[in-house]
């Protein structure tokens, strides 16, 4: 069953990433250089939609809280984020979109994947250094306390309510964000 779900959800994810322009470094670069935030609007709306559905579903008892998987927060998350951000901006690819872009026929994405395999291998070798420096220590923490989950919480608030409110906020920001902040022109109509 898991195998079938991996194929169905994975294929859906890859197809949608391609259709929103995330496999195209031009759209990534326009977003990150703040020339055109259309893709940012898409991503924020996606996070908001997923959050509202998940936390709303949890409140109605339709979504299993046990399927959540919150990652640990530690200093290395921020340092790693900085590194990923720099490489993401330069190449126009992140791990998922790089693999998808290569599948759409982009040759530069094959070089990204090769570099990525080498970078991951370099981390596998240098991992003890980061661990020894204590930069990987932390706890899996959510903003509010999510009922039925064991995560630490930052605020003394109900986590599912926080998630629902933030989800709506993400959707509002997605709608409010201008597509082309530098020129003030509207986004061209969709071609689909």
């Amino acid at each position: 069953m898991d195998i079938i779900l991996a194929i169905v959800i994975g294929a859906g994810f890859g197809a949608v990433l391609d259709r929103i322009g995330a496999t195209n470094p031009t759209w990534i670069g326009r977003m990150l250089s703040l020339k055109n935030l259309h893709l940012m609007k898409t991503i924020l709306l996606a996070i908001g939609t997923a959050s509202v559905l998940m936390f709303g579903g949890q409140m109605l008892g339709l979504v299993d809280v046990g399927h959540m998987s919150v990652k640990t927060a530690y200093v290395g998350v921020f340092i790693g984020g900085l590194l990923l951000g720099a490489g993401w901006a330069a190449s126009g690819y992140c791990p998922g979109t790089g693999v998808c872009a290569a599948a759409t026929g982009r040759k530069d994405a094959l070089f990204f994947i090769a570099g990525g395999l080498l970078g991951a291998a370099a981390y596998m070798v240098t991992y003890p250094m980061w661990q020894g420096a204590g930069l990987l220590e932390g706890a899996a923490t959510t903003l509010g306390a999510i009922p039925g989950a064991e995560y630490d919480s930052l605020l003394n608030l109900r986590g599912d309510v926080v998630g629902l409110v933030l989800g709506v906020l993400f959707i509002v920001i997605a709608a409010a964000l201008p597509g082309k902040p530098t020129r003030g022109a509207p986004i061209p109509a969709p071609a689909e």
Binding site: L5, I9, A46, I79, P95, C100, R106, L118, M124
Partner: protein
Amino acid sequence: MPLNWKSGGVLLGLVFFLAVLLVKPIGVSTQFVILDGIIGDAVNPALVTQAEDGAWTSTNDYLAKSGGKYAKSVANPLNYSFLFVLAMAAGAFASALARGGNGAAENRAPALWRANFGDGAGKRFLVAFLGGFVVLYGARLAGGCTSGHMMSGMMQTAVSGYVFAAGAFLAAVPVALMIYKQEG
């Protein structure tokens, strides 16, 4: 032209919701480690080994961490997360096929690159390679990437997701502004 942000955002959000409803949150970058492990284990079979009690471990500390869960995935590549990434590539391939592909020039170097640096592909391939190295090193240090930390993390109100997104955009925006002066 990509999908409008409204339909694209709802579709992408549905995929992330379905993943957490039916299985677990989406993540990709770990599978670069698993593929490295598979290649490494093919070259040197002593890399990943199974103890008598059935537990998997590795001579590499990173593959052996957390009770050898990565070592186990290396030994059994037909697991959910690895197949997910292969299926993701297949989905993107089918989508590109259905829209008629990217075109030969785009496949060598994207329009934004060509507008800033011309048609030569060699420099683009080098930047993509170096970018890939830094992205995956950073993703493994962070314990996740754009999908696992930023999208899956922030949708779950994970503090780590917000910390990661702050770091990623703090570096990405200045670098993009420096490199890509022309819009493309």
